[in-house]
Amino acid sequence: MPSDYAIETEGLTKIFRNFWSGAEFVAVDGISLRVRRGTTFGLLGPNGAGKTTFVKMLLSAAHATKGRALIFGQDGRDPSARQPIGYLPENHRFPTYLTGAGMLDFYGALSGLDGAARKRRIPELLALTGLEKWGDVRLGKYSKGMLQRVGLAQALMHEPALLILDEPSDGVDPIGRRQIRDMLHALEERGVTVFLNSHLLAEVEAFCRDVAIIHRGKLAVQGEVRDLTAGSGYRVKAEHVPERLAAELTATGAALFAGAGAQNGFREFQFGTREAANRSVDLLRSESCEIESVIRTASTLEEVFMRTVDGK
């Protein structure tokens, strides 16, 4: 029976052991994650959180110490489970002796495409990524952005059902980023599952429907971007706020968070409801604080990320 999930992991764990000292380092700690078929999924986390190791375990480039990963219901360790995957690694090193077309031909063959299909797909993808005039040029002559685009073309060669992209807009100019995003949207509309590993929060927020945050090897948050950023509120900026009152507003729970210290004499407070914001404005005014601004805000993925990672 076909699985509802493009990716399913159960307690996926990776422990690296130092051969000489025997010291252990837990890179990924029991992550159970489900990525729905046809969704756009963003994996977030600070540097060293275990994102890349997690992705490598999905692809069986790294072996899990415990747990397992399923790709469309099939054990990821089975080479045939990787048939529906298109992958663009971070810091890729494509063979520079190949031309753009040659590289697509090689990886297309490894992805199981026959000669006729490769012949058809190569010009299509070079045109799609804006590299139609560069097909016969060696990759050594490509710019970083062009390598990223030809890398994306490589991932799309065999029309994969699951696209795993590690920092896809790395080194790409804003126009190129826009093109990549449009390309990914078109794939999403065709039902392709897109798994994005990126540190660009705005990119993930703009593109992904679902998101997960990994922190210190563990799954910290998972959900729909819409739900996670649903916490709208009010931001109040005031002058001459005594430390005592700032601490009181935060401690009583009226303010979801207060900006760290006064900046140019101003402090900012975030309130979850209009009532809380109004009460606090009254309180601030009663203590002769000057109100600079009251703004209605929507919670951003960045705030969710910072709260998860830094506890702010």
């Binding site: 080479p79 690694p89 490894l110 199981g112």
Partner: protein
């Protein structure tokens, strides 16, 4: 999944492309062509022409016999030279073709494809062997043609030297493969393989060494290393015997070296299947 043949073809073709880009193939073709031109040249000089003419004044049977022996001797000398120099050059030039696929950013992409790990490595291994085999065949076949046309003697045994040299190269490349998987370094892999090649002529004198050693355990150690390691030197001697048309009585160096190569290859494939990238 794609057929195994299609995948292997893609991997072999990629190895050839890399060998071309690194100028390994051109280097070999250049050296081989220079040697071929050299043989063409010496076959035209007066001394050699004169030597062949002298032989032709003898009776028909005697001339054929002497000429055949002369050609076999020359073939034997060339085969021995190609075997020794060819092996060193081949290992030195092409040992890097296997470790390059372990480069970060390249190996992850290869492993993400629906291809078994052992297939990726075997494809590279076969490609590397074929790069060397094609060059060896080009050189040996051209030299054979030159001598054949000039003398009318066509001894097929000389052509076997290609197969023997490539066979020993394949054994040494299996060692390169294992060390490269473990160390991910072309330099270490080349050094270890050269070490094994250099120790081979020493171990080939094991009977003499054993007489010089006083303790039994040290004699056992020499024996162990002799039987465990590939017998590059001994097979070189066998190669010459075959080219000269002599009968080979002891095939032990060949099958024990093949066993070594097989063990190295399997160990390399196993290590590769267990590694994290």
């Amino acid at each position: 999944m794609a057929s195994n043949i299609a995948l292997t073809t893609a991997l072999v073709r990629d190895t050839f492309r890399e060998a071309m880009a690194r100028k390994i193939i051109w280097g070999f073709v250049g050296c081989s062509s220079a040697l071929i031109l050299f043989f063409l040249f010496i076959m035209k000089i007066d001394v050699v022409e004169g030597a062949f003419a002298t032989m032709s004044i003898f009776g028909r049977d005697a001339r054929t016999m002497d000429l055949t022996r002369l050609v076999r001797e020359v073939h034997g000398g060339i085969a021995a030279f190609l075997y020794t120099a060819g092996l060193f050059l081949s290992v030195f030039a092409s040992a890097g073709l296997i470790p390059t696929i372990f480069e970060p950013g390249r190996i992850e992409l290869l492993l993400s494809k629906p291809v078994a790990r052992h297939h990726i490595l075997l494809g590279r291994y076969v490609g590397n062997v074929l790069v060397i085999a094609s060059n060896m065949f080009y050189l040996v076949f051209a030299v054979w043609i030159i001598f054949g046309v000039k003398t009318g003697v066509w001894t097929h045994q000389f052509l076997y030297s290609t197969a023997i040299t490539v066979f020993v190269f394949a054994i040494l490349l299996a060692l390169v493969l294992l060390v490269a998987v473990l160390s991910e370094s072309a330099v270490v892999a080349t050094m270890v393989t050269f070490g094994v090649m250099l120790v081979s002529p020493i171990l080939a004198q094991r009977h003499l060494i054993e007489r010089l050693l006083s303790s039994e355990w040290s004699r056992d150690t020499v024996r162990y290393f002799y039987f465990a390691l590939p017998k590059v030197f001994d097979i070189g001697r066998i190669c010459r015997e075959i080219v000269l048309g002599h009968t080979v009585t002891d095939w032990m160096p060949v099958w024990s070296s093949a066993l070594f190569g097989l063990v190295m290859l399997l160990a390399g494939l196993y290590s590769f299947s267990r590694r994290n990238y």
